[in-house]
């Protein structure tokens, strides 16, 4: 991905993630500096996914551990994490990726990167990952706030 496009999209996504998490979760989630040669196929337990429909279609995904998902959804709802059912964690993660995509969509309106979105979905399973074809154009970002770690991928299909 050319560096100007990458930089622009990273800024939009960072702003979107920050807005969504500070508003809905009460947590300031900040992008972590890119590590050299991060391994492809990030493994997690819950991944929220949105299809991005544009001149170049893409998949936006946020991946996190079940423990982090429980913490985040607990902050969102004010319900203790032990009282949350698994379905509620999956729903919460789906809503978060929905809102992140929605915010980014607003930021990108009127630019060459504007898009439409589909309803979100969640992929669940210990140590799962999403396998794309070789050489897809992908932007990956890591976010952190205390113990919370989130991995975001924007993958052009």
């Amino acid at each position: 991905m050319e560096s100007q496009k990458k930089s622009f999209l990273q800024k939009c996504l960072a702003e979107s993630v920050s807005d969504v998490f500070s508003t809905m979760v009460g947590v300031e989630l900040c992008p972590v500096q890119e590590k050299a040669a991060a391994p492809k196929g990030y493994k997690s337990e819950i991944t929220g996914v949105m299809m991005i429909l544009s001149t170049h279609n893409a998949l936006l995904s946020i991946a996190l551990s079940k423990e982090n998902a429980a913490m985040i959804v607990s902050f969102m709802t004010g319900i203790a994490s032990v009282e949350l059912a698994d379905d509620e964690l999956y729903d919460g993660v789906a809503e978060l990726v929905n809102m992140i995509a929605g915010r980014a969509k607003a930021l990108l309106a009127g630019t060459d990167y504007h898009y439409q979105i589909t309803p979100p979905l969640t992929i669940v399973g210990e140590n799962h990952f999403i396998l794309y074809k070789k050489n897809v154009s992908q932007l990956s970002m890591e976010f952190e706030a205390g113990e919370i770690k989130l991995h975001l991928d924007l993958t052009y299909l």
Partner: protein, 292 residues
């Protein structure tokens, strides 16, 4: 057919208008907020475009409408005991001084102002902090009644919420500690009700920070946290002067821990305590006999 698209030109016009008339700076990335929050004014006035709304505002110059626009576009974010350490400043540095002053019979109350109080977490945190301090130190001759806590916001709606003294479990999870919650709240279903005594110790008033502060009186302590970040440089300078003139002798200003106050030196001495910056007004402009 309503042309609702907020073109770049219209957004720039609004950005400029809001900065000139409200002193609030809207960043480009927040254009989407203007789009969603101003649309209700198109409906109310039966207008077809933002350009029409802009023209109407410029022509009519209605103060009440300008205030409604500020209310609509500003985000009211607040937390319980935000930043944590200013409360230690209050307990360790300021309350001992206030208690001495009250016992020395200085007359009148210790006046505290929480500016841009939103849904009330800050002024109620102040009241709870003072009350708990008095209880913990076995101070029986002084109560919350020796303090006057004034809380202001530009939004009538948000003040209505603050006065309820009722909070949901999500809001309670943001900054409220278990010990304060147990001491000052009771739960009804998912809602938490603040102790009536604490609720009644705060006076809420609608107030626009662009107006003169004279009517508010003088304060021993002003909480002005995470408000100025939205303002233009010109408005920030003006407000610092107005705050200076509203503080009593050795009155204190507390800003947000992460807020930078570069030009404090002209009017304030800066002090640093447990990660909190607080600013004591130099000399003070008013003698005790006229401050209350």
């Amino acid at each position: 057919m309503m042309n609702g698209h907020l073109s770049s030109q219209a957004f720039r016009l609004f950005q400029k208008y809001i900065e000139e008339h409200c002193g609030i700076v809207i960043r480009d990335e927040k254009a989407y907020l203007i789009e969603s929050r101003l649309s209700k004014f198109l409906i109310r006035f039966g207008l077809s475009s933002f350009e029409e709304l802009y023209n109407m505002l410029r022509q009519q110059k209605q103060a009440a409408l300008t205030e409604e626009i500020i209310d609509a576009i500003t985000t009211n974010e607040t937390l319980w005991f935000r930043d944590k350490t200013p409360w230690e400043v209050l307990e360790d540095q300021l309350l001992p001084k206030y208690i001495t002053a009250i016992r020395q019979g200085m007359g009148g109350k210790i006046r505290i102002w929480s500016a841009a109080c939103a849904t009330g977490q800050e002024p109620y945190s102040i009241a709870m902090c003072i009350d708990r301090y008095l209880l913990r130190h076995g101070i029986a001759d002084i109560t919350l009644n020796h303090f006057e806590i004034v809380a202001t916001d530009i939004s009538h709606t948000v003040l209505q919420l603050a006065k309820l003294g009722k909070y949901d479990n999500i809001t309670m999870a943001r900054g409220m500690t278990l010990d304060y919650r147990e001491q000052y709240f009771r739960q009804e279903g998912r809602t938490w009700l603040l102790d009536e005594r604490i609720k009644n110790s705060v006076q809420f008033r609608q107030f626009n920070l662009q107006n003169s502060f004279i009517g508010l009186g003088f304060f021993d302590l002003i909480f002005f946290r995470y408000v100025a970040i939205y303002f233009s440089e010109a408005l920030k300078k003006e407000i610092v002067k107005k705050i200076t003139n509203s503080l009593t002798k050795e009155g204190v200003l507390i800003l947000g821990n992460s807020e930078v106050f570069l030009d404090y030196n002209e009017y304030f001495e800066a002090e640093y305590y447990k990660n909190a910056n607080f600013y004591t007004v130099r000399g003070g402009c008013y003698e005790n006999i006229i401050r209350r």
